[in-house]
Protein backbone atom coordinates (compact mmCIF):
# COMPACT_ATOMS: atom_id res chain seq x y z
CA UNK A 1 0.00 0.00 0.00
CA UNK A 2 2.95 2.38 0.51
CA UNK A 3 2.90 5.17 -2.02
CA UNK A 4 -0.73 4.72 -2.95
CA UNK A 5 -1.92 5.61 0.54
CA UNK A 6 -2.92 9.15 -0.33
CA UNK A 7 -3.56 8.66 -3.97
CA UNK A 8 -7.00 9.77 -4.97
CA UNK A 9 -8.63 7.44 -7.40
CA UNK A 10 -11.33 9.94 -8.04
CA UNK A 11 -11.40 13.71 -7.64
CA UNK A 12 -14.76 15.41 -7.80
CA UNK A 13 -14.69 19.19 -8.02
CA UNK A 14 -17.63 21.59 -8.02
CA UNK A 15 -19.97 18.94 -9.42
CA UNK A 16 -23.46 20.18 -10.22
CA UNK A 17 -26.28 18.15 -11.74
CA UNK A 18 -29.51 19.78 -12.87
CA UNK A 19 -32.59 17.93 -13.92
CA UNK A 20 -35.68 19.71 -15.19
CA UNK A 21 -34.50 23.07 -13.81
CA UNK A 22 -33.85 21.68 -10.31
CA UNK A 23 -30.37 21.31 -8.86
CA UNK A 24 -30.13 17.73 -7.64
CA UNK A 25 -26.49 18.15 -6.69
CA UNK A 26 -24.74 21.48 -6.26
CA UNK A 27 -21.07 22.22 -5.93
CA UNK A 28 -19.92 18.84 -4.68
CA UNK A 29 -16.22 18.45 -3.86
CA UNK A 30 -15.08 15.00 -2.82
CA UNK A 31 -12.21 12.56 -3.14
CA UNK A 32 -12.33 8.84 -3.27
CA UNK A 33 -9.07 7.30 -2.22
CA UNK A 34 -7.37 4.28 -3.61
CA UNK A 35 -7.64 1.18 -1.49
CA UNK A 36 -10.38 2.52 0.74
CA UNK A 37 -14.06 2.02 1.25
CA UNK A 38 -15.93 5.29 0.97
CA UNK A 39 -19.58 5.44 1.93
CA UNK A 40 -22.03 7.84 0.40
CA UNK A 41 -24.78 8.58 2.89
CA UNK A 42 -27.77 10.88 2.95
CA UNK A 43 -31.56 10.80 3.13
CA UNK A 44 -33.78 9.51 0.34
CA UNK A 45 -33.71 11.80 -2.67
CA UNK A 46 -30.46 13.45 -1.56
CA UNK A 47 -28.80 12.70 -4.90
CA UNK A 48 -26.72 9.67 -3.95
CA UNK A 49 -27.65 7.59 -6.98
CA UNK A 50 -27.31 10.70 -9.17
CA UNK A 51 -23.73 11.09 -7.99
CA UNK A 52 -23.03 7.46 -8.94
CA UNK A 53 -24.57 8.05 -12.35
CA UNK A 54 -22.44 11.17 -12.82
CA UNK A 55 -19.31 9.16 -12.02
CA UNK A 56 -20.46 6.56 -14.55
CA UNK A 57 -20.99 9.37 -17.08
CA UNK A 58 -24.67 8.59 -17.40
CA UNK A 59 -26.10 12.00 -16.46
CA UNK A 60 -24.93 15.38 -17.76
CA UNK A 61 -23.13 17.51 -15.18
CA UNK A 62 -21.00 20.60 -14.77
CA UNK A 63 -17.76 20.63 -12.80
CA UNK A 64 -15.09 17.97 -13.07
CA UNK A 65 -14.72 14.32 -12.22
CA UNK A 66 -11.12 13.26 -12.61
CA UNK A 67 -9.91 9.68 -12.45
CA UNK A 68 -6.40 9.20 -11.20
CA UNK A 69 -5.27 5.74 -11.90
CA UNK A 70 -2.82 4.20 -9.46
CA UNK A 71 0.42 3.24 -11.22
CA UNK A 72 0.23 -0.29 -9.89
CA UNK A 73 -2.97 -0.78 -11.88
CA UNK A 74 -1.16 -0.12 -15.14
CA UNK A 75 -1.94 2.23 -17.99
CA UNK A 76 -5.17 3.14 -19.65
CA UNK A 77 -8.60 4.32 -18.65
CA UNK A 78 -9.83 3.25 -15.24
CA UNK A 79 -12.30 0.42 -15.15
CA UNK A 80 -15.45 1.13 -13.22
CA UNK A 81 -17.46 -1.73 -11.83
CA UNK A 82 -21.07 -1.05 -11.01
CA UNK A 83 -23.52 -3.05 -8.93
CA UNK A 84 -27.02 -1.66 -9.36
CA UNK A 85 -29.51 -1.65 -6.52
CA UNK A 86 -31.78 -4.18 -8.18
CA UNK A 87 -32.68 -5.43 -11.63
CA UNK A 88 -36.12 -4.58 -12.97
CA UNK A 89 -36.79 -8.13 -14.19
CA UNK A 90 -39.90 -10.26 -14.53
CA UNK A 91 -39.58 -13.41 -12.42
CA UNK A 92 -40.02 -15.60 -15.52
CA UNK A 93 -37.45 -13.86 -17.72
CA UNK A 94 -35.69 -16.71 -19.56
CA UNK A 95 -32.12 -15.78 -18.65
CA UNK A 96 -29.99 -17.90 -16.34
CA UNK A 97 -27.04 -16.69 -14.28
CA UNK A 98 -24.74 -18.37 -16.82
CA UNK A 99 -26.52 -16.54 -19.68
CA UNK A 100 -26.06 -13.30 -17.76
CA UNK A 101 -22.29 -13.85 -17.67
CA UNK A 102 -22.32 -14.87 -21.33
CA UNK A 103 -23.99 -11.59 -22.36
CA UNK A 104 -20.92 -9.56 -21.49
CA UNK A 105 -18.20 -12.22 -21.61
CA UNK A 106 -18.53 -13.64 -25.11
CA UNK A 107 -19.03 -12.46 -28.66
CA UNK A 108 -20.98 -15.52 -29.67
CA UNK A 109 -24.71 -14.78 -29.41
CA UNK A 110 -26.13 -16.34 -26.29
CA UNK A 111 -28.76 -18.27 -28.27
CA UNK A 112 -25.94 -20.42 -29.65
CA UNK A 113 -24.99 -21.37 -26.09
CA UNK A 114 -22.40 -20.28 -23.56
CA UNK A 115 -18.79 -20.91 -24.59
CA UNK A 116 -16.56 -23.11 -22.47
CA UNK A 117 -14.54 -20.04 -21.50
CA UNK A 118 -17.66 -18.22 -20.35
CA UNK A 119 -18.60 -21.20 -18.24
CA UNK A 120 -15.14 -21.25 -16.63
CA UNK A 121 -15.21 -17.51 -15.97
CA UNK A 122 -18.70 -17.67 -14.52
CA UNK A 123 -17.95 -20.62 -12.26
CA UNK A 124 -14.72 -19.07 -11.01
CA UNK A 125 -16.36 -15.70 -10.27
CA UNK A 126 -19.37 -17.30 -8.61
CA UNK A 127 -17.17 -19.54 -6.50
CA UNK A 128 -15.35 -16.46 -5.23
CA UNK A 129 -18.69 -15.08 -4.17
CA UNK A 130 -19.69 -18.41 -2.64
CA UNK A 131 -22.64 -18.94 -4.97
CA UNK A 132 -21.38 -21.42 -7.59
CA UNK A 133 -24.61 -23.41 -7.16
CA UNK A 134 -26.57 -20.59 -8.80
CA UNK A 135 -24.97 -21.07 -12.24
CA UNK A 136 -28.03 -22.56 -13.95
CA UNK A 137 -30.70 -20.72 -11.98
CA UNK A 138 -33.03 -18.24 -13.72
CA UNK A 139 -32.01 -14.66 -12.96
CA UNK A 140 -35.54 -13.49 -12.14
CA UNK A 141 -35.99 -16.12 -9.42
CA UNK A 142 -32.94 -15.28 -7.30
CA UNK A 143 -33.49 -13.84 -3.84
CA UNK A 144 -32.25 -10.32 -3.17
CA UNK A 145 -29.10 -11.61 -1.50
CA UNK A 146 -28.34 -14.16 -4.21
CA UNK A 147 -28.75 -11.55 -6.92
CA UNK A 148 -26.44 -9.14 -5.13
CA UNK A 149 -23.74 -11.78 -4.94
CA UNK A 150 -24.13 -12.64 -8.62
CA UNK A 151 -23.92 -8.95 -9.56
CA UNK A 152 -20.92 -8.54 -7.34
CA UNK A 153 -19.20 -11.57 -8.85
CA UNK A 154 -19.85 -10.19 -12.33
CA UNK A 155 -18.61 -6.68 -11.46
CA UNK A 156 -15.41 -8.08 -9.94
CA UNK A 157 -14.64 -10.22 -12.98
CA UNK A 158 -13.11 -7.25 -14.80
CA UNK A 159 -10.82 -6.32 -11.84
CA UNK A 160 -12.21 -2.79 -11.58
CA UNK A 161 -10.24 0.19 -10.25
CA UNK A 162 -13.38 1.57 -8.68
CA UNK A 163 -16.39 -0.42 -7.68
CA UNK A 164 -19.65 1.43 -7.21
CA UNK A 165 -22.27 -0.29 -5.07
CA UNK A 166 -25.77 1.11 -4.91
CA UNK A 167 -27.48 0.15 -1.62
CA UNK A 168 -25.65 -3.18 -1.41
CA UNK A 169 -27.72 -4.54 1.46
CA UNK A 170 -31.22 -3.41 0.58
CA UNK A 171 -33.62 -6.28 0.13
CA UNK A 172 -31.28 -8.76 1.77
CA UNK A 173 -32.03 -10.63 4.98
CA UNK A 174 -29.85 -10.17 8.06
CA UNK A 175 -27.80 -13.31 7.52
CA UNK A 176 -27.28 -12.44 3.86
CA UNK A 177 -26.19 -8.98 4.88
CA UNK A 178 -23.56 -10.34 7.25
CA UNK A 179 -22.24 -12.74 4.62
CA UNK A 180 -22.18 -10.03 2.03
CA UNK A 181 -20.27 -7.63 4.25
CA UNK A 182 -17.75 -10.29 5.26
CA UNK A 183 -17.22 -11.12 1.64
CA UNK A 184 -16.84 -7.46 0.82
CA UNK A 185 -14.09 -6.82 3.31
CA UNK A 186 -12.33 -10.02 2.29
CA UNK A 187 -12.35 -9.12 -1.38
CA UNK A 188 -11.27 -5.64 -0.53
CA UNK A 189 -8.27 -6.88 1.42
CA UNK A 190 -6.78 -8.74 -1.51
CA UNK A 191 -7.88 -6.75 -4.54
CA UNK A 192 -6.84 -3.16 -3.68
CA UNK A 193 -9.48 -1.29 -5.60
CA UNK A 194 -11.44 1.54 -4.22
CA UNK A 195 -15.00 1.13 -3.35
CA UNK A 196 -17.79 3.64 -3.21
CA UNK A 197 -20.91 2.37 -1.57
CA UNK A 198 -24.24 4.10 -1.30
CA UNK A 199 -26.05 3.18 1.86
CA UNK A 200 -28.67 4.50 4.21
CA UNK A 201 -27.76 1.86 6.79
CA UNK A 202 -25.32 3.56 9.14
CA UNK A 203 -24.41 0.27 10.82
CA UNK A 204 -23.01 -0.96 7.51
CA UNK A 205 -21.24 2.35 7.02
CA UNK A 206 -19.60 2.46 10.44
CA UNK A 207 -18.52 -1.14 10.14
CA UNK A 208 -17.08 -1.13 6.64
CA UNK A 209 -16.33 2.36 5.42
CA UNK A 210 -13.19 4.25 6.38
CA UNK A 211 -14.35 7.42 4.68
CA UNK A 212 -17.76 8.99 4.48
CA UNK A 213 -19.29 11.52 2.13
CA UNK A 214 -22.52 12.98 3.52
CA UNK A 215 -24.87 14.39 0.93
CA UNK A 216 -28.08 16.31 0.93
CA UNK A 217 -28.12 17.96 -2.50
CA UNK A 218 -24.93 19.66 -1.40
CA UNK A 219 -21.95 18.29 0.46
CA UNK A 220 -22.78 18.23 4.18
CA UNK A 221 -19.44 16.87 5.27
CA UNK A 222 -16.79 14.34 4.37
CA UNK A 223 -13.84 12.69 6.04
CA UNK A 224 -12.97 9.74 8.24
CA UNK A 225 -16.08 7.85 9.37
CA UNK A 226 -15.28 8.13 13.06
CA UNK A 227 -14.84 11.89 12.89
CA UNK A 228 -17.62 12.76 10.51
CA UNK A 229 -20.67 10.85 11.73
CA UNK A 230 -21.38 13.21 14.61
CA UNK A 231 -24.89 14.06 15.85
CA UNK A 232 -24.48 17.61 14.50
CA UNK A 233 -23.66 16.42 11.00
CA UNK A 234 -26.44 13.84 11.03
CA UNK A 235 -28.88 16.53 12.07
CA UNK A 236 -27.65 18.78 9.27
CA UNK A 237 -28.17 15.95 6.81
CA UNK A 238 -31.40 14.35 7.94
CA UNK A 239 -33.03 17.16 9.91
CA UNK A 240 -33.12 17.71 13.66
CA UNK A 241 -35.35 14.72 14.41
CA UNK A 242 -32.74 12.19 13.47
CA UNK A 243 -30.81 10.44 16.21
CA UNK A 244 -28.05 7.98 16.05
CA UNK A 245 -28.56 5.67 18.97
CA UNK A 246 -27.21 2.33 19.90
CA UNK A 247 -29.25 -0.81 20.15
CA UNK A 248 -28.58 -3.01 23.11
CA UNK A 249 -28.82 -6.17 21.01
CA UNK A 250 -26.52 -4.95 18.27
CA UNK A 251 -22.79 -5.11 18.56
CA UNK A 252 -22.43 -1.42 19.12
CA UNK A 253 -23.22 -0.20 15.65
CA UNK A 254 -25.46 2.74 15.21
CA UNK A 255 -28.69 2.77 13.29
CA UNK A 256 -30.23 5.95 12.12
CA UNK A 257 -33.79 6.54 13.19
CA UNK A 258 -35.84 9.19 11.59
CA UNK A 259 -38.78 10.12 13.82
CA UNK A 260 -40.86 11.36 10.94
CA UNK A 261 -42.07 14.99 10.83
CA UNK A 262 -40.87 15.52 7.30
Amino acid sequence: MTGSEHLHTLEIRNLTVRKGGVEILSGIDADIRCGEVTALVGPNGAGKTTLLLAILGQVPYTGTIRFCRAAEHGQGAPRIGYVPQRLPLDPDVPITVLDFFALSAQRRPVFLGASRRTREIALESLERAGVAHLLQRPLGRLSGGELQRVLFALALRDAPDILLLDEPVSGVDVEGEELFCDFLSEVHRDARFSLLLVSHDLSVVTRHAGQVICLNHRLVCSGATTEVLTPENLAAMYGTDAHLFRHSHADGHGHLHDDGKR
Binding site: G20, L53, L56, G57, Q58, I80, G81, Y82, P84, L87, P88, L89, D90, D92, V93, P94, I95, T96, L98, D99, F100, A102, L103, S104, Q106, R107, P109, V110, F111, L112, G113, Q136, P138, L139, L151
Partner: protein, 285 residues
Protein backbone atom coordinates in the same frame (compact mmCIF):
# COMPACT_ATOMS: atom_id res chain seq x y z
CA UNK B 1 -34.75 -13.32 -59.45
CA UNK B 2 -37.46 -15.21 -61.33
CA UNK B 3 -35.37 -18.40 -61.68
CA UNK B 4 -34.64 -18.49 -57.95
CA UNK B 5 -38.33 -18.33 -57.11
CA UNK B 6 -39.32 -21.00 -59.63
CA UNK B 7 -36.56 -23.26 -58.30
CA UNK B 8 -37.93 -22.76 -54.77
CA UNK B 9 -41.46 -23.50 -55.99
CA UNK B 10 -40.27 -26.70 -57.70
CA UNK B 11 -38.61 -27.77 -54.48
CA UNK B 12 -41.81 -27.09 -52.56
CA UNK B 13 -43.75 -29.26 -55.01
CA UNK B 14 -41.42 -32.14 -54.10
CA UNK B 15 -41.50 -31.58 -50.36
CA UNK B 16 -45.21 -30.85 -50.09
CA UNK B 17 -47.12 -33.08 -52.52
CA UNK B 18 -50.48 -32.00 -51.09
CA UNK B 19 -53.52 -30.34 -52.61
CA UNK B 20 -53.17 -27.22 -50.45
CA UNK B 21 -49.63 -26.55 -51.65
CA UNK B 22 -50.44 -26.89 -55.34
CA UNK B 23 -51.53 -23.37 -56.30
CA UNK B 24 -48.73 -20.83 -56.72
CA UNK B 25 -50.50 -18.35 -54.43
CA UNK B 26 -50.44 -20.94 -51.63
CA UNK B 27 -46.73 -21.49 -52.14
CA UNK B 28 -46.15 -17.76 -51.93
CA UNK B 29 -48.27 -17.53 -48.79
CA UNK B 30 -46.35 -20.38 -47.16
CA UNK B 31 -43.01 -18.78 -48.02
CA UNK B 32 -44.18 -15.40 -46.80
CA UNK B 33 -45.21 -16.85 -43.45
CA UNK B 34 -42.17 -19.06 -42.98
CA UNK B 35 -39.92 -16.05 -43.64
CA UNK B 36 -41.68 -13.39 -41.58
CA UNK B 37 -43.20 -15.30 -38.65
CA UNK B 38 -39.91 -16.83 -37.34
CA UNK B 39 -38.08 -13.51 -37.84
CA UNK B 40 -40.81 -11.72 -35.88
CA UNK B 41 -40.75 -14.41 -33.18
CA UNK B 42 -36.96 -14.14 -32.79
CA UNK B 43 -37.20 -10.38 -32.33
CA UNK B 44 -40.17 -10.95 -30.04
CA UNK B 45 -38.03 -12.51 -27.28
CA UNK B 46 -35.99 -9.34 -26.57
CA UNK B 47 -39.04 -7.22 -27.44
CA UNK B 48 -41.03 -8.81 -24.62
CA UNK B 49 -38.06 -8.49 -22.26
CA UNK B 50 -37.85 -4.76 -23.09
CA UNK B 51 -41.64 -4.47 -22.57
CA UNK B 52 -42.08 -3.11 -26.08
CA UNK B 53 -45.28 -4.91 -27.14
CA UNK B 54 -47.10 -1.58 -27.32
CA UNK B 55 -44.27 -0.21 -29.46
CA UNK B 56 -44.71 -2.94 -32.07
CA UNK B 57 -48.46 -2.30 -32.03
CA UNK B 58 -47.84 1.41 -32.71
CA UNK B 59 -45.56 0.56 -35.65
CA UNK B 60 -48.21 -1.82 -36.97
CA UNK B 61 -50.81 0.93 -36.86
CA UNK B 62 -48.46 3.47 -38.40
CA UNK B 63 -48.53 1.21 -41.47
CA UNK B 64 -52.14 2.27 -41.89
CA UNK B 65 -50.96 5.83 -42.49
CA UNK B 66 -48.02 4.64 -44.56
CA UNK B 67 -50.42 2.89 -46.93
CA UNK B 68 -52.70 5.92 -47.13
CA UNK B 69 -49.71 8.16 -47.92
CA UNK B 70 -48.60 5.77 -50.66
CA UNK B 71 -51.99 5.87 -52.36
CA UNK B 72 -52.14 9.66 -51.93
CA UNK B 73 -48.70 10.13 -53.51
CA UNK B 74 -49.23 7.49 -56.18
CA UNK B 75 -46.38 5.31 -54.90
CA UNK B 76 -46.69 1.60 -54.08
CA UNK B 77 -48.24 1.46 -50.58
CA UNK B 78 -46.12 -1.60 -49.67
CA UNK B 79 -43.01 0.55 -49.70
CA UNK B 80 -44.39 3.76 -48.19
CA UNK B 81 -45.64 1.54 -45.34
CA UNK B 82 -42.07 0.30 -44.70
CA UNK B 83 -40.55 3.78 -44.92
CA UNK B 84 -43.19 5.39 -42.73
CA UNK B 85 -42.98 2.60 -40.12
CA UNK B 86 -39.20 3.02 -39.93
CA UNK B 87 -39.51 6.80 -39.51
CA UNK B 88 -42.07 6.44 -36.71
CA UNK B 89 -39.93 3.79 -34.95
CA UNK B 90 -36.85 6.03 -34.94
CA UNK B 91 -38.88 9.08 -33.92
CA UNK B 92 -40.44 7.27 -30.94
CA UNK B 93 -37.04 5.97 -29.81
CA UNK B 94 -35.39 9.39 -30.07
CA UNK B 95 -38.20 11.21 -28.24
CA UNK B 96 -38.41 8.52 -25.56
CA UNK B 97 -34.75 9.03 -24.68
CA UNK B 98 -35.10 12.81 -24.37
CA UNK B 99 -38.13 13.22 -22.15
CA UNK B 100 -39.20 12.44 -18.64
CA UNK B 101 -42.45 10.91 -19.91
CA UNK B 102 -42.83 7.16 -19.58
CA UNK B 103 -42.33 5.25 -22.81
CA UNK B 104 -45.95 4.07 -23.08
CA UNK B 105 -47.10 7.68 -22.88
CA UNK B 106 -44.72 8.71 -25.66
CA UNK B 107 -45.84 5.77 -27.78
CA UNK B 108 -49.49 6.58 -27.04
CA UNK B 109 -49.02 10.14 -28.32
CA UNK B 110 -47.35 8.96 -31.55
CA UNK B 111 -49.82 6.12 -32.02
CA UNK B 112 -52.89 8.36 -31.92
CA UNK B 113 -51.35 11.15 -33.98
CA UNK B 114 -50.26 8.81 -36.73
CA UNK B 115 -53.56 6.92 -36.91
CA UNK B 116 -55.48 10.22 -36.93
CA UNK B 117 -53.34 11.39 -39.83
CA UNK B 118 -54.11 8.17 -41.69
CA UNK B 119 -57.86 8.53 -41.15
CA UNK B 120 -57.73 12.17 -42.26
CA UNK B 121 -56.04 11.20 -45.53
CA UNK B 122 -58.42 8.32 -46.18
CA UNK B 123 -61.47 10.45 -45.56
CA UNK B 124 -60.32 12.85 -48.29
CA UNK B 125 -59.52 10.17 -50.83
CA UNK B 126 -62.71 8.36 -51.72
CA UNK B 127 -62.31 4.76 -52.79
CA UNK B 128 -59.23 4.19 -50.67
CA UNK B 129 -61.01 2.00 -48.17
CA UNK B 130 -60.98 -1.13 -50.32
CA UNK B 131 -57.26 -0.74 -50.80
CA UNK B 132 -56.78 -0.70 -47.05
CA UNK B 133 -58.74 -3.83 -46.30
CA UNK B 134 -55.92 -6.10 -47.48
CA UNK B 135 -53.54 -4.36 -45.10
CA UNK B 136 -55.92 -4.33 -42.13
CA UNK B 137 -56.62 -8.06 -42.20
CA UNK B 138 -53.54 -9.18 -44.11
CA UNK B 139 -53.63 -11.28 -47.25
CA UNK B 140 -50.68 -13.62 -47.64
CA UNK B 141 -52.39 -15.15 -50.67
CA UNK B 142 -51.82 -11.88 -52.53
CA UNK B 143 -48.10 -11.49 -51.77
CA UNK B 144 -46.13 -10.46 -54.86
CA UNK B 145 -42.76 -11.86 -55.93
CA UNK B 146 -41.06 -8.56 -55.11
CA UNK B 147 -42.52 -8.63 -51.61
CA UNK B 148 -41.37 -12.22 -51.18
CA UNK B 149 -37.81 -11.31 -52.12
CA UNK B 150 -37.92 -8.40 -49.66
CA UNK B 151 -39.08 -10.82 -46.95
CA UNK B 152 -36.21 -13.18 -47.76
CA UNK B 153 -33.70 -10.31 -47.59
CA UNK B 154 -35.22 -9.19 -44.31
CA UNK B 155 -34.99 -12.72 -42.91
CA UNK B 156 -31.24 -12.72 -43.61
CA UNK B 157 -30.89 -9.22 -42.17
CA UNK B 158 -32.59 -10.30 -38.93
CA UNK B 159 -30.30 -13.35 -38.65
CA UNK B 160 -27.19 -11.20 -39.11
CA UNK B 161 -28.45 -8.48 -36.79
CA UNK B 162 -29.29 -10.86 -33.97
CA UNK B 163 -26.00 -12.74 -34.38
CA UNK B 164 -24.13 -9.46 -33.92
CA UNK B 165 -26.19 -7.67 -31.30
CA UNK B 166 -28.35 -10.17 -29.43
CA UNK B 167 -26.16 -10.20 -26.31
CA UNK B 168 -26.08 -6.44 -26.09
CA UNK B 169 -29.84 -6.13 -26.59
CA UNK B 170 -30.54 -8.58 -23.75
CA UNK B 171 -27.98 -6.93 -21.46
CA UNK B 172 -29.60 -3.55 -22.11
CA UNK B 173 -32.96 -5.08 -21.20
CA UNK B 174 -31.58 -6.28 -17.87
CA UNK B 175 -30.26 -2.93 -16.62
CA UNK B 176 -29.36 0.10 -18.71
CA UNK B 177 -26.74 1.56 -16.38
CA UNK B 178 -25.11 -1.80 -15.89
CA UNK B 179 -25.11 -2.45 -19.64
CA UNK B 180 -23.33 0.88 -20.18
CA UNK B 181 -20.53 -0.10 -17.81
CA UNK B 182 -20.14 -3.27 -19.89
CA UNK B 183 -19.57 -1.17 -22.99
CA UNK B 184 -23.05 -1.30 -24.57
CA UNK B 185 -23.64 1.80 -26.70
CA UNK B 186 -27.22 2.32 -25.66
CA UNK B 187 -28.57 4.77 -28.29
CA UNK B 188 -27.11 2.75 -31.18
CA UNK B 189 -28.58 -0.50 -29.88
CA UNK B 190 -31.98 1.05 -29.12
CA UNK B 191 -32.36 2.75 -32.49
CA UNK B 192 -31.16 -0.20 -34.55
CA UNK B 193 -33.44 -2.57 -32.66
CA UNK B 194 -36.45 -0.28 -33.16
CA UNK B 195 -35.61 -0.04 -36.86
CA UNK B 196 -35.29 -3.80 -37.37
CA UNK B 197 -38.55 -4.37 -35.48
CA UNK B 198 -40.25 -1.79 -37.72
CA UNK B 199 -38.99 -3.51 -40.89
CA UNK B 200 -40.19 -6.91 -39.73
CA UNK B 201 -43.55 -5.60 -38.49
CA UNK B 202 -44.28 -3.90 -41.81
CA UNK B 203 -43.31 -7.06 -43.71
CA UNK B 204 -45.40 -9.29 -41.45
CA UNK B 205 -48.43 -7.07 -42.11
CA UNK B 206 -48.70 -8.79 -45.51
CA UNK B 207 -49.13 -12.07 -43.67
CA UNK B 208 -51.52 -11.27 -40.81
CA UNK B 209 -52.52 -7.63 -41.21
CA UNK B 210 -52.19 -4.48 -39.15
CA UNK B 211 -54.66 -5.60 -36.49
CA UNK B 212 -52.88 -8.85 -35.68
CA UNK B 213 -49.23 -8.18 -36.45
CA UNK B 214 -48.18 -7.73 -32.80
CA UNK B 215 -49.35 -11.29 -32.17
CA UNK B 216 -46.51 -12.65 -34.33
CA UNK B 217 -43.95 -10.92 -32.10
CA UNK B 218 -45.51 -11.34 -28.70
CA UNK B 219 -47.31 -14.72 -28.59
CA UNK B 220 -44.38 -16.98 -29.59
CA UNK B 221 -42.10 -15.18 -27.12
CA UNK B 222 -44.74 -15.54 -24.40
CA UNK B 223 -45.09 -19.26 -25.21
CA UNK B 224 -41.31 -19.61 -24.98
CA UNK B 225 -41.35 -18.08 -21.49
CA UNK B 226 -43.71 -20.82 -20.37
CA UNK B 227 -41.24 -23.58 -21.18
CA UNK B 228 -37.74 -22.09 -21.46
CA UNK B 229 -35.42 -21.38 -18.56
CA UNK B 230 -32.41 -20.15 -20.46
CA UNK B 231 -31.77 -17.58 -23.19
CA UNK B 232 -30.91 -20.14 -25.87
CA UNK B 233 -34.01 -22.30 -25.47
CA UNK B 234 -36.22 -19.18 -25.25
CA UNK B 235 -35.20 -18.05 -28.72
CA UNK B 236 -35.45 -21.47 -30.35
CA UNK B 237 -38.81 -22.31 -28.80
CA UNK B 238 -40.16 -18.94 -29.94
CA UNK B 239 -38.91 -19.47 -33.51
CA UNK B 240 -40.18 -23.06 -33.51
CA UNK B 241 -43.65 -22.03 -32.35
CA UNK B 242 -43.77 -19.40 -35.10
CA UNK B 243 -42.72 -21.78 -37.88
CA UNK B 244 -45.04 -24.54 -36.70
CA UNK B 245 -48.08 -22.34 -36.27
CA UNK B 246 -47.36 -20.48 -39.51
CA UNK B 247 -47.43 -23.77 -41.38
CA UNK B 248 -50.35 -25.26 -39.44
CA UNK B 249 -52.36 -22.05 -39.74
CA UNK B 250 -52.03 -21.82 -43.48
CA UNK B 251 -52.96 -25.47 -43.99
CA UNK B 252 -55.94 -25.13 -41.63
CA UNK B 253 -57.14 -22.00 -43.42
CA UNK B 254 -57.11 -23.92 -46.72
CA UNK B 255 -59.34 -26.68 -45.42
CA UNK B 256 -61.53 -24.53 -43.15
CA UNK B 257 -61.83 -21.76 -45.73
CA UNK B 258 -61.00 -19.07 -43.15
CA UNK B 259 -58.89 -15.90 -43.39
CA UNK B 260 -55.24 -17.01 -43.52
CA UNK B 261 -53.71 -14.38 -41.24
CA UNK B 262 -56.29 -14.84 -38.52
CA UNK B 263 -55.99 -18.64 -38.68
CA UNK B 264 -52.22 -18.40 -38.28
CA UNK B 265 -52.61 -16.20 -35.22
CA UNK B 266 -55.14 -18.67 -33.75
CA UNK B 267 -52.65 -21.49 -34.32
CA UNK B 268 -49.99 -19.45 -32.50
CA UNK B 269 -52.42 -18.87 -29.64
CA UNK B 270 -53.09 -22.63 -29.51
CA UNK B 271 -49.33 -23.22 -29.14
CA UNK B 272 -49.34 -20.71 -26.30
CA UNK B 273 -52.20 -22.58 -24.62
CA UNK B 274 -50.27 -25.85 -24.84
CA UNK B 275 -47.15 -24.31 -23.28
CA UNK B 276 -49.24 -22.65 -20.58
CA UNK B 277 -50.77 -26.01 -19.75
CA UNK B 278 -47.29 -27.52 -19.57
CA UNK B 279 -46.21 -24.78 -17.21
CA UNK B 280 -49.19 -25.29 -14.91
CA UNK B 281 -48.88 -29.09 -14.74
CA UNK B 282 -45.09 -29.19 -14.49
CA UNK B 283 -43.91 -29.96 -10.96
CA UNK B 284 -42.40 -26.87 -9.33
CA UNK B 285 -38.71 -26.96 -8.66
Amino acid sequence: MEPILSAVFALMDRLLPFAFAEPAFMKRALLALLLTAPAAAALGVPLVQHRMAFFSDAIGHSAFTGVALGVLLGVSPSWTMVAFGAIVAVAITLVKGRTELSSDTVIGVFFSTVVALGIAIISREKGLTRNLQAFLYGDPLAVTDAELLWMAALFLLVCAYLALLYNRILLLGIHEGFARTKGVRVPAVEISFALVVALVVTAAIHAVGILLVTALLVIPAAAARNVARGAASALWVSVGVAALSGFAGIVASWYLDTATGATVVLATAACFAVTALYRVTRPRE
